[in-house]
């Protein structure tokens, strides 16, 4: 047996790379719109060639992000319905127990850390956070892009409410990524300086045994 396992397929790696790129573009062109009256936002707006260009880039990236999200969710639902996909990302009761166990371990009231399967509760939290966040920014984004069409069948208040929700959801997503995701993928002592798994698809056996022991044991049991 080799010293690494394949954890992500090419499609999954491409999906991560696309979301990462689009998310960066959306944040750079989005946050200055939310905070347009502060000096740093003004500098970005001027530096990128004015608010009109920023708005169009944001809209184009948003529409691409919508397409990627739609394709991803269709494939996910399709694979589950046809029985070819796994339910490894679905939150279970076990995840809550794991979270409590893990926090108790951090605090010193449990002797061992939780033992995780393919995805730990933090990874599931981030995935579903992204899915729900995407649904919010996409739906509110379309209200803002087509306010006349939206108010044909929705109350007018949906427009300012969407504007507020869109900006706040984007800000929260940015903060989660810059604090939580960057910590877990780069700064955490477990992976520092760079967890390359999502780019190469490979994870070392050593890390698998440490971070996903249940999955590792299942794979080994199947091999034997």
């Amino acid at each position: 047996m080799s010293d690494y396992l394949v954890r992500f397929t090419l499609r999954q790696r491409i999906e991560h790379f696309s979301v990462m790129t689009l998310f960066t573009i959306l944040v750079i062109t989005g946050l200055p719109q939310k905070f347009f009256d502060s000096s740093w936002a003004e500098a970005i707006i001027l530096g990128l060639g004015g608010i009109d260009r920023i708005r169009w880039v944001h809209r184009a990236a948003g529409i691409l992000f919508t397409l990627f999200t739609a394709v991803h969710l269709t494939l996910m639902v399709g694979s589950v319905l046809t029985g070819t996909g796994s339910l490894s990302l679905v939150p279970t009761r076990r995840d809550f127990e794991d979270a409590i166990q893990q926090l108790r371990y951090y605090l010193g009231t449990a002797d061992a850390p939780a033992r995780f399967d393919r995805f730990d509760y933090r990874q599931k939290f981030e995935y579903w956070g992204l899915v729900f966040g995407a649904v919010i920014v996409i739906s509110t984004g379309f209200v803002l892009l087509f306010p006349i069409a939206a108010t044909r069948f929705l109350p007018g208040e949906i427009v300012p409410a969407s504007k507020l929700a869109h900006g706040n959801e984007g800000l929260m997503a940015f903060l989660v990524v810059i604090i939580w995701h960057i910590y877990n993928a780069h700064l955490s002592p477990d992976v520092f300086p760079f967890d390359k798994t999502i780019f190469t698809g490979k994870i070392s056996v050593e890390r698998m045994r440490h971070e996903h022991p249940l999955e590792y044991e299942r794979i080994k049991a199947q091999e034997e």
Partner: protein, 354 residues
């Protein structure tokens, strides 16, 4: 310059015999004034100009004495080159030439105001050769100058002498009515928005984009607005919304200048501004959709309520927006705080294990 016309025409002046002063001198210049009035005090005194127009040369002693210059200036302070009697010939062909020639007389004392007029739309018209454009005396008068803003209604009345149509519109507006009916000291007269000596109009560069600042100079003032029960949030609620954001970025050069974006005046009107709750107001609820449709042709009834009418999104005024605001106000600190806490706990465990 008119003075340099090649063929100065003699203005014939019938010189009357000097008569003794009628009243004791009241000004240091009184002797000089009396000297001039010995001829120009005759109300019939006039001259016929080459154009055929008659120009009165009479000065009313009482009117001049009551004017702001009555106790300060003598005749020759303004009418230079008149110390010789009979006076040297004057080159004016028309009454208007005569008036325009005296444009320069005021600047010897009022230089700051004079230099401002050089930037005015009126001076631009004069420079184009428009002889009807006003110079100092057309607004201020000549021998009868009194403070131009007493009473305040006089300012708008002065402009109305030429700008009749727009003055009638203004007089019917919320500002104009308060000025003429209540002698209100706060509402803008023409000069408060367009300025007085450096008069500018809507074609001045940047005028349109700067116009919200004009409105804000009163409507953002708490002490002034609370007298009338008007909210001073109107500026910040405007700037916080899509139109106001684009407008303020345009002012900083961070948005395409040519893009049309609604400013205060586009919804509320300009000279015809009315109270928002008044019948006929472009922004009253019943008319708001039609106002939106001027730029958003496909808009339907719900669209106009996307604009919260300058209200802050409180629970009463906009419950959906209020709920979103409160929701994120709680969610963001809770989410980020929780994640940061878990990171710190993880780091602590790593350190302890070592």
């Amino acid at each position: 310059m008119l003075h340099s016309l090649l063929a100065p025409l003699l203005v014939a002046i019938a010189v009357q015999a000097p008569s003794p002063p009628a009243s004791p001198p009241s000004s240091p210049k009184a002797d000089e004034i009396e000297m001039c009035l010995s001829c120009h005090g005759d109300p019939q005194m006039s001259v016929t100009l080459p154009s055929g127009e008659a120009r009165s040369l009479a000065v009313d002693r009482e009117v001049f004495a009551r004017s702001v210059h009555g106790d300060k200036l003598g005749c020759v302070d303004c009418h230079t080159g008149m110390t010789e009697i009979p006076h040297p010939p004057r080159p004016f062909k028309t009454r208007r030439e005569f008036t325009i020639a005296y444009y320069e007389a005021c600047k010897r004392c009022h230089f700051a105001s004079y230099s401002k007029t050089l930037d005015s739309v009126h001076q631009a018209a004069v420079a184009r050769g428009d002889v009807t454009a006003p110079v100092c005396v057309d607004c201020h008068g000549a021998h009868d100058i009194t403070p131009p803003d007493r009473p305040r209604t006089r300012i708008s009345a002065t402009c109305a002498r030429c700008h009749e149509g727009v003055s009638l519109t203004y007089a019917k507006s919320v500002h104009g009515r308060a000025l003429t009916e209540d002698d209100n000291a706060d509402v803008p007269t023409c000069a408060d928005c367009h300025r007085s000596h450096d008069v500018a109009g809507p074609h001045a560069p940047g005028w349109r984009l700067q116009s919200p600042e004009l409105c804000g100079s009163c409507h953002a003032s708490k002490s002034m607005m609370e007298k009338y029960g008007i909210s001073t949030n109107v500026m910040q609620t405007y700037v916080a919304d899509f139109h106001g954001m684009t407008a303020s970025l345009q002012r900083k050069g961070a948005a395409e200048g040519g893009a049309v974006v609604a400013l205060c005046i586009d919804c509320h009107g300009v000279h015809d501004i009315m109270r928002a709750d008044e019948k006929g107001s472009a922004v009253m609820q019943a008319n708001l959709l039609r106002t939106c449709q001027r730029c958003h042709p496909g808009a339907t009834q719900n669209f106009s309520s996307a604009w919260l009418s300058h209200y802050e999104p409180t629970f009463d005024k906009a419950p959906m927006v209020y709920a979103v605001r409160i929701g994120y106000l709680v969610l963001i600190p809770f989410m980020i705080g929780g994640l940061v806490l878990q990171i710190l706990l993880h780091l602590w465990r790593v350190v302890v294990n070592r």
